[in-house]
């Protein structure tokens, strides 16, 4: 852990500070997409904006409806995976490699389940990305979030492989903390998405 810390500096390493700054830029990216969604909501006469559908779209069976049960379960899965990921960090802080590995495995599995559930959910919807601003914002926001979940899962997978190689100790486990931080970020974005898309929607 001390490898990247200049002499005399306490606390966070340079890599971790850089990583937090990177996360700040990610927050701003999602902020831009959320802004688009809120403006669309503010402009719409009603939400979902059924009145914008053309007769052709209605004839094609387009329905601007979201199914809430599966995404609610997915939300629980992703929140649980954040807990298991944090648990992995706490285990390696105590030097417990086995506990950390279990935490990483379970988090990775839960993340993959979330992705599969999201793809299945996509197949059950009766609208596409080109069906009004409702479809466009839904698929853009959830799609970019899903891509970040996939990226986070890859991050955890790499960390897991390194953990299997015994690379982490109670003193040296920065990558585990970074992966955990990224995973929490992805989780928080999803909670915000679930709230605005499904609950307030």
């Amino acid at each position: 852990m001390a490898a990247h810390t200049p002499a005399g500096h306490q606390g966070m390493t340079n890599s971790m500070l850089g990583f937090i700054l990177f996360l700040a830029s990610e927050v701003m990216f999602f902020g831009g997409l959320f802004a688009a969604y809120f403006i669309a909501r503010a402009d719409a006469p009603a939400w979902p904006p059924e009145s914008l559908l053309t007769p052709e779209q209605i004839a094609d069976g387009v329905k601007l409806e979201l199914e809430v049960v599966l995404p609610a379960i997915s939300t629980g899965i992703l929140v649980l995976s954040s807990v298991t990921m944090q648990w992995a960090v706490w285990q390696i802080q105590k030097g417990n490699q086995g506990g950390m590995l279990w935490g990483l495995f379970i988090s990775l599995a839960l993340g993959l389940i979330f992705l599969v559930a999201q793809l299945y959910d996509y197949t059950q919807l009766h609208f596409r990305a080109d069906d009004t601003i409702f479809g466009t914002t839904f698929y853009t926001l959830t799609g970019f979030h899903g891509a970040h979940v996939a990226g986070g899962a890859l991050f955890i997978a790499v960390v897991t492989v390194r953990a299997l190689g015994g690379q982490f100790t109670a003193e040296n486990h920065e990558a585990v903390e970074a992966a955990s931080m990224y995973w929490h970020f992805v989780d928080v974005v999803w909670i915000a998405l679930f709230t605005v898309l499904y609950i307030i929607g």
Binding site: P6, L17, G18, L21, F29, L33, A35, A40, D130, I133
Partner: protein, 537 residues
Amino acid sequence: MATVAVPQLSGYRRPAVLEWITTVDHKRLGILYLYFTLFFFAVGGILALLVRTQLAVADNSFVGNDAYNQIFTMHASAMLFLFIIPVWAGFGNYLVPLQIGAADMAFPRINALSFWMLPPAGILMFAGFIVDGGAADGGWTAYSPLAQQTGVGMDMWIIAVIVLGMSSTIGAANFLVTMFRMRAPGMTMFRMPIFCWTMLVTALLQLLATPVLAAALVMLFIDRNYGGQFFDPNGGGNVVLWQNVFWFYSHPAVYIMILPGMGIVSEILPVFSRKPLFGYKAFVFATIGIGGLGFSVWAHHMFTTGSVLLPFFGFMTFMIGVPTGVKIFNWLGTLWGGSISFPTPMLFALGFVSMFLIGGINGTYSAAVPVDFALHDTYFVVAHIHYVLFGGSVFAVFGGLYYWFPKIWGRKLDDRLGKLQFVLMFVGFNVAFFPMHMLGLDGMPRRIAVYAESTGWEALNMLSTGGAFLIAVSMIPFLIAVVMAFMRPKDQPNDPWEGNTLEWATTSPPPDYNFDSLPPVRSERPLFDARHNGEGH
């Protein structure tokens, strides 16, 4: 006694090309940034000459309308995204670690990644000229619905700008960590050289604003290619949404393009006035103030859309004139009573102060809402941005090149040729851009390829075109000076100008590891302190 062969690390050097391609050294990457950006400055300049040639006479048919749209779009895109924004990363890369007394940036390999994202993006953007439908032609602002109606060159432009944005975002994180964590012993934040401070605020703006542009570009890409409705009112979208998200980045981006230039000028003026920068802390807080306020003025680009809160954005735009005005007084106060000399870097710095002042005044003038309604999308606005970005940023780039050339390349650029360049560029610049104020007040819209003779705009346009070619001519003495410098041996001492900051404490050019030893840092002018034994400060 047995002899043991000592491995000679310096005995083997890979081919020079490989050394440059694989380098993670901040100085080499800085030089690569400078070469890359100056190349695109030339490309953007040639496009500008095509624009001015088309506009020189009324009813001209030199280039067609379609080609004209591509040319002015790519002129702006090259100058903003491939020249001005990355040129500061070039200066910053070379100078920030040296100025704070570090051996390198915090993340050298990420630094190399930041640079190497640029060439593919530049090639992709310009490859638009060889595809069906031509290069991007919706203006650098790419407003919808216009940007939805153009060819595949627009998609290439979108991807290129996203990649360039990623480069500057990760570069920004690198600069921030470097300045927060790698400063030499004794160098507190308020002893950091002023150029570093401007790079720090610039990096913060890049880190927080550029991802919003990426979000906007992603939406535009989805609208263009996947039937998205973000900017299509038929599907519930909103064309003004693009303008909001675009300017949320692109107004802070104006400060990204000018703040490091202000930093360079604030390094040059004290050295050649033989005085410390007047009001160092005021300058730092003014820089932070500009950065903060920069996020609250974006809608002044959108007054005429009728969908923004005019009093708020008008007021905030006036407000941002205050910290900017503070800086003008910093510079004037530095000159006041100084023992002033006029080598080439000083001339460019003084050119910056005077031209940027005009750009600031005509900008604040346009911030008055009723005035803006009259001037929106006229050549007055074109005059304004060029007084800021050419009269400001480009003068600072050349000032910085003349000032740090001895440090970077160990040779001095010829001072007489530099002065000739400055005079030609200063005159050419004002002849090219001052008439645009009058043209704008007379109602000439920006981005038109052809105007009728009856408008009476021909004389001023011809004058402006003459000025543009004079600017082009001013590059000849610069190129001669560069060639002459490279024909001479490296003869520059550590500190040819009697500078103030740590980069002058090492050899010219510096060794790979930058410093053998550092002088103690007890103020923002450690080299001045070292020369005077800490007295006279």
